[in-house]
Symmetry: C2
Subunit: 336 residues, 2 copies
Amino acid sequence: MTPPAGADGRDRPGEFEIIGDIFAPLAAGAPGAWGLKDDAALFHPTSGFETVLTVDAMVAGVHFLPDDPPESIAKKLLRVNLSDLAAKGAVPRGYLLVTSFPADIDTGWIRRFAEGLAADQARYGVTLWGGDTVKTPGPLTLSLTAIGEVPEGRIVRRGGAQAGDDLYVTGTLGDAALGLAVLKNEIAGLDAAHAAFLAGRYREPEPRTTFGQRLPGIAHAALDVSDGLMADLGHLCSASGLGAQVEFHRLPVSEAGRAALELHPELSDLVASGGDDYEILFAVPPGRAGLADAAAAESGVRIARIGTLLPAGKGVTAVDEAGREIPLKRLGYRHF
Amino acid sequence: MTPPAGADGRDRPGEFEIIGDIFAPLAAGAPGAWGLKDDAALFHPTSGFETVLTVDAMVAGVHFLPDDPPESIAKKLLRVNLSDLAAKGAVPRGYLLVTSFPADIDTGWIRRFAEGLAADQARYGVTLWGGDTVKTPGPLTLSLTAIGEVPEGRIVRRGGAQAGDDLYVTGTLGDAALGLAVLKNEIAGLDAAHAAFLAGRYREPEPRTTFGQRLPGIAHAALDVSDGLMADLGHLCSASGLGAQVEFHRLPVSEAGRAALELHPELSDLVASGGDDYEILFAVPPGRAGLADAAAAESGVRIARIGTLLPAGKGVTAVDEAGREIPLKRLGYRHF
C-alpha cells in the first residue's frame, strides 16, 4: 500500500510514526506480531482448539459520537468484538486494528485512543497482532478483527436451540439506548450518577468474556444483544427454526435504567428494542438451569430467565405480568 | 452494532440485503462461515501449520480511483492481502471483509464488486468467512483481513537475511506506478495494448501466491513490494540489520514499461521507487540459486537477481551497469 504523505507538522503524525511509536507498544506481548514490523502476524493455534474470528467496523457520527472520549471509542471498538467471541464461547487471544484517520487528527487523540486499548488489553488478556493505518478525507473510520479460540466442536451457535429451552440474558437491558439518550440530552432530571452509569454503558459496554467461555455445555444457542433484544431474539429463533415467548416484566433493568424510565415512561420499549447492550442472550435446557446459575455466580455476572423457546408455529411473542400479549411493534421488533 | 437504516429504495440495499443476497453466496464454500448468519466465523486450523493474518484498508480517492471498475477494486483489495501472505510463505485460506458504503452506492455497484471477489475466490482458492457492512457519510472505505497458513516454524520474515545473500525480485517493477500515470493521462502516445497492460497492473496486481508458498527453505527473508523497491529494500535491510547494493540495470521492466519509459525517460526512477507492484523481494543464499530458479519455473513466475545483501556498515546503495553509484534520492529512497 502506498504510504500516505508523511508528517506535516508536530501534531500530525505519519503512518510510520503512528505505528512505530504509538501502536507498536500494544504488540509487545505478542511474539507473532514482531513489533508490527512485518507484513503479517503469526498465530500458533492451541492444540485441541478451533479459531473464532469476528470483525466490526465503527464510523464517527454513525456508531459513536464524534466527541466521545478517544479511550472510550477504543474500548467500544474492541469490546463489541470481544462480545461476539464471548457469545460463541471463545477465549479471546488477540486482534488486528484498522484505523482510517482524518487529516486533522492529532497525536494526542491517537495516544489517548491507544491508552484505551492498552487498558482493555490488560483487562481482557489480549494483544495487538497487526493492522493497517491509512488517511481518509472522510470521518474517522475504525475496524477491528478479533481472534479467539474455542475447544474443538464446542462453539455455541445462534442455531441449535430447542423448543422448551429457557431463554436467559446476562446483565441488564436498555442501558445503552438510554445512555445514548442521556448523551443527546433527551433525558431531563436524571441524577448525575445514574446519567453517568447509563452513558458509560453506551460508551463502554461490558463484554461477558468470562461467562461466555462457560457457555459450551450449558447453552444450546447464544448470540450477543447488539441490535436490541427482540431483534436478536428473532435472529436466534430464525437460526434455530423456533418461536419464543418473552415475559416482558422479567427483562432485567438496572437501577439507573429504572430511574430514567420513571422520568420517561414513554421510553420503556427501549428495554426490549434498544441496541448496543452487548449482553448475551442464550437458550438453556431446563435441566441445566443449575449449571447456568453456577456459571453466572463463578463469573460475577447476573443472569435472568426471561422466557421460553417454542415450536416454530408459535412465532415470537411477548407477554406482560398478567399473561396478556404485548404488540411486538411496540417493542421494536422487526422481521429480517 | 446498530444496523443502519433499511433500504430506502429499489437500488439502495440495506445491511441485511447486502449480506444475505450479495455477500452470502461468497461464503458458500466455507463451512465455518455459516452463510454469514452467525456472530463469528469458525476456522479449523490445519495440524502442523501456524496461522498467518494480515489486513489492509483502501479508501476511495486515496488507494484507488473512485471510477475504477468495482470488480477491479474488489480484486485489488483481496490481492494486496494475498500478496502479504505470499511474501510470508503462507497458503491463503479465507478472508473477512469490511465495507463502509456511502449512502448513494447502488446495488449494481455492490453486485459487480462481489463478482470481482467471486472470480478471485476461484482463482486463489479462498472463501469469504465473515465481515461487517456499515454506512458512511464519507468515501467508500474497505478493509480485508486475509488468513493463511504456513507449516510450523517455516514462516519467512523480513529479518533473517545474511550478508552475501543474493537479492531477487519476482515479475517486473514500476508497472503499477506507470499504470497510475496512464490512468491519470500523464503518459501521451503509448499504444493501447501497453497502456491497458500497465493500467491492469495498477488495478489488478498479481499476488505471487504459488511462488510464495515455495519460499520457505529457499529465502532467508522476504516482503512484498508495496511502497516501492528501494523503500521496501530499506525495510528488509533494517529488519535484517544489513546493507545492500542494487544493480539498477538488472531491475526487471516489462515490455510495456519499457515502451512507456522510452516516451517518458524522466519517469525511469519509478522502476525503483514506484509502489503498488506487489512483487516479492527476497534474499537467497548463493547456494540455493538453483532452488529459487526451479521454484520460479514450477510457479510460472519470472525472477531476477537484482543485487546483494551487504554488512550493515555498507548502507543501501544502487549502482549502474558501469558500477557507478546512483544517488538514492533519485530512486525515491526514504529512510523510515
